[in-house]
Symmetry: C2
Subunit: 202 residues, 2 copies
């Protein structure tokens, strides 16, 4: 698992803005260093390359999502309510993920899913684990229809990712994202999540 | 709308095999002509370029899907049952669509969704129209939960396409497809369709 220092977080936040605006491919280490007012050598001291900054940015955004989730889960919620909360929180984080190319960058996708040792893969598997456990609780407490929790969690996560990816492409997203596109993707994703939730409800 | 002659169908069927095996990008008009035992000039008489053969191939596969659907729909089925039948028939056609790159080829995706005058777009909109009408019937006859039929049909079609695209990429599909991948994608897609259907049932 990636653990980030305060200095690394600072670098990530600055790099994030550039990734969002120009895309990860068009960003260079030299530009990130310049934005920070650092020398390149100084930047390389914290991150070996651009990919590790991008991975760090994704990790930090997912951690934000997990923190928001933790804050939104209230005691006494049944399994279904927990699943619903998780998907809704996820949709509020869509903007950050899509800004980093999680839904459209195929190179990134390969890093995430095809490399079993990848730090990122572990982060995404943590999400899968959470969702599986909430579905499992729901099946036990009777709020979720009888289903295989792990399999269903995977269907939901892949389904949402796939839907977001299609929606972004439909909106004509080619690496640059207007504020309106951002609004639309989040809105569409939430609609889709709501539809998926209907399939889980008992 | 594309209307194909018998000779064009013959060309498409031969080209289809090559697209499936080597991918659309790596196929040339010269190779298709050779497979057919035609001169290139003769082939150009029927199709102006490779893209039009590919479009023809997709159109013919979608027509096959619509024909299979028509055969599977039985009198007296309620709206939900019609939707279910449509999605199941669609999943049996997955192999053909994925062989043509419908779920993974981004250039193709652009042709399909971003060009309002595209013949292909019309074919896909026919699918959307069918699904919308079955959902609408279901809402009326009480077999489908109250929902906006057109919106829901779009969610389902985009959701299935997105899921298939993610699943193909997860299986490491890079333009070439093993028999095992084909089996797996069809299976996964059917599981996902079943999950989506749960969300529609009343």
């Amino acid at each position: 698992m990636i653990t980030l220092t305060a200095e690394q977080h600072k670098i990530i936040d600055v790099a994030f803005k550039r990734f969002t605006k120009f895309g990860h491919e068009k960003t260079t280490m030299a530009q990130i260093a310049e934005d920070l007012g650092y020398s390149r050598t100084f930047l390389y001291y914290y991150f070996p390359d651009k990919e590790s900054i991008l991975k760090g940015a994704i990790t930090s955004r997912i951690e934000k999502y997990f923190q928001a989730l933790e804050k939104s889960l209230k005691p006494g919620m049944n399994g279904f309510k927990k699943v619903e909360t998780m998907l809704k929180v996820k949709c509020t984080c869509t903007k950050d993920f899509q800004a980093l190319g999680v839904y459209t960058n195929m190179e990134l996708f390969k890093i995430i899913v095809n490399n079993p040792d990848s730090d990122l893969k572990q982060v995404f598997q943590k999400e899968l684990k959470y969702l599986t456990s909430y579905i499992s609780e729901g099946v036990k407490d009777g709020s979720v229809r009888k289903t295989d929790p792990a399999k269903t969690a995977k269907l939901i996560i892949d389904g949402l990712a796939g839907y977001s990816s299609i929606t972004l492409r439909r909106l004509g997203y080619q690496g640059k994202l207007t504020a309106r596109d951002q609004e639309n993707v989040g809105k569409h994703q939430l609609e889709y999540a709501t539809f998926l939730l209907n399939g889980l409800k008992k």
